[in-house]
């Protein structure tokens, strides 16, 4: 379940970027990895407090995301979607390699100390039964819920949220309306990277930090597709469902299926209901 939340968070960041800029960011996992590394640097290497370090890492990634958009994405903005996808793939490669090269990071695996232990916690009183959840898992779930609420409020009630929607549907018109489209896009990237960082930090206790941890980001695709590509609550729901399906597959089905279960689900969804659970069907008017 908690891994589902991680998927949900990654998918969330992913869908954010897609909804706003129609760019499919294949490097979302790498952003997660960088966020985790930043946290590692602050918490373990610099010795800061967990909460401060985590916040700082998330903040840093906001700037990194912003920067990535400015440097890498802006020059290719008018090009067909395919080209933009290739750019994000390229960036993923670069990020992975760079992470391996930075002194203190390299290709080793690391861990960060968290104030959450892996002990189980009884969620409900003994009389009602046992529902044991590890503290680390619980922290993930709670954090995810909080983040979702914050983001939902942001997009529904702020001008920035509306601006983002406009820019995603018709750039030129948005420019005419006075929306600083490029800055809006960079902000989205920043937010998305920050969300990815949060996911990375939450993931760290479970899978440890290393330069290849970004590959988990690939699972964001089934989650986003299942939930519906343009839908933020969909991404979250999708991620959680995928997490649950995977765990169940691990228990009941032969080994190896667990790895591909998510992708089988993805294919099934694409065939049966391409717009996912919450997405919208769109078509062209001729």
């Amino acid at each position: 379940m908690s891994i589902g939340c991680i998927y949900a968070l990654v998918a969330l960041g992913f869908v954010l970027i897609y909804k706003a800029t129609e760019v499919v960011n294949f490097a979302q996992g790498e952003l997660l990895m960088l966020g985790a590394f930043f946290a590692y640097t602050f918490i373990t290497l610099f010795g800061w407090n967990y909460w401060i370090g985590a916040a700082a890492a998330i903040g840093c990634m906001f700037f990194v995301g912003n920067l990535v958009d400015r440097v890498v994405l802006r020059p290719v903005l008018g090009q067909p979607q395919f080209a933009i996808v290739m750019v994000t793939i390229g960036f993923g490669y670069v990020a992975r390699s760079v992470a391996g090269m930075i002194p203190g990071w390299g290709t080793e695996t690391y861990a960060i100390e968290t104030p959450f232990s892996s002990e189980g916690m009884q969620l409900i009183p003994e009389s009602m039964g046992t529902l044991v959840v590890a503290q680390t898992d619980l922290s993930v779930i709670v954090a995810t819920i909080l983040l979702c609420i914050v983001l939902y409020l942001f997009f529904t009630y702020t001008k920035l949220g509306l601006a983002m929607q406009a820019s995603s549907q018709n750039q030129l018109a948005s420019y005419y309306m006075g929306i600083p489209v490029k800055s809006v896009f960079s902000m989205i990237w920043g937010i998305s990277a920050a969300v990815a960082a949060a996911a990375g930090i939450l993931l760290a206790p479970t899978t440890l930090i290393d330069a290849n941890m970004g590959f988990i980001g690939l699972k964001a695709f089934p989650a986003a597709v299942l939930g519906g590509f343009g839908s933020i609550p969909g991404a979250v729901v999708g991620g959680i469902i995928i997490g649950i399906i995977e765990t169940l597959a691990g228990f009941y089905l032969p080994p190896g299926v667990k790895n591909v279960a998510a992708y089988v689900v993805l294919l099934v969804v694409l065939v049966v209901r391409p717009q996912g659970l919450f997405g919208e069907k769109t078509g062209k008017r001729v």
């Binding site: 800029t21 129609e22 499919v24 890498v72 020059p75 290719v76 903005l77 008018g78 090009q79 979607q81 395919f82 080209a83 933009i84 996808v85 290739m86 750019v87 793939i89 390229g90 960036f91 993923g92 490669y93 670069v94 990020a95 992975r96 390699s97 760079v98 992470a99 391996g100 090269m101 290709t107 995603s168 549907q169 018709n170 750039q171 030129l172 420019y175 330069a211 690939l218 695709f221 089934p222 597709v225 590509f229 343009g230 190896g256 790895n259 591909v260 992708y263 089988v264 993805l266 294919l267 694409l270 065939v271 391409p274 769109t282 078509g283 062209k284 008017r285 001729v286």
Partner: protein, 371 residues
Amino acid sequence: MRFLFKTSYEQDIRIAKHSGYYWSYGALLLIILCAPYFLDEYYIGQMTQLYILAIAGVGLMLLSGYTGLISLGHAAFFGIGAYTEAVLTGNGIPLPFMDEPIVFSFFISFPMAGVLAAVAGVVIGIPALRLTGIYLAIATFAFAIIVEEILSRWESVTNGYTGLLVDSIYFESIDFDLTEGVSFYFLCLGVLIAVILFSLNLLRSATGRSMMAVRDSEISAQSMGVNLAQTKTLAFAISAGITGLAGALFAHKLGFLSPESFTVLQSLELLVLVVVGGLGSIHGAIFGAMFVLALPQGLAIMKDYLPHYISEQPGFEPLIFGLILIFFVMFEPLGIYGRWLKVKLYFQMFPLYKKATFKRQKSYMKSERLK
């Protein structure tokens, strides 16, 4: 600068548009044919690898460059072709009424590899009919991951991660090993030329045009009589089949197969091959193959000249790989072939070449969701 005077429609449909083509490609062909006789064994092997990659590249180019269907999982077809070839020529297939499994000769297993890969192409092609753009890319991606998992788990056939030895093609009667050195070089070259000619022929006739029509405007293609489902499925089948053939050759080149050679990274490599080479041209596939092959070599050479600190880093190669990809998309979307065309034009029009000939209009993004 050459002026082309056209006197008949016949001229327009020829592959070689004017006599200059015969000279330049003829010379190229001559050099390639003689190469094994004055090159080192190592370089012959490299050229062979180049041909194999180029064949796979042409396959992907037909699908993505000409029909506009992005495939992020082409390594799956590559792998299916490779394993089919290995299994059919190696352990063979046990049939219920035979005592021993049947082992097939190369001349049957090779086309079978293509056919099986083509069937796999249809398998992913049919659900893909209703998907567009990015959804299609993701679906092919998922497909490739599933295929990779199947290849590694189906141990009775593929030997999983332990690996599968590939027999060489040895003709006892004339003491001739087809998969060895120079003979293999010519085999791969032959297949490459055949595949290129086949593709060029397709592209200058109705099927090729219908593929390009599907890429540019599905709705009007339909109104012109193009059966979308048929064309897309056909594109997948042909593309997968060609890549499967490349995979079969690859199996013999490696000699030893393991699912690790057919992962997402290989799919991405193929995609980079096609993009960097130049999307939408057969030349692009060749240039792309050269790039993908030459890059590690070039980097290895460069390492000697770079300061120790940078060159010793393990992530160096993927870093350059990623940077070049980004660079090409940003500055040279026509790929290496595009750059080649520009350079050629420069020399042809010297000194009248204008830099703005290829200037791209600044374009704004319109939502593809409403397409």
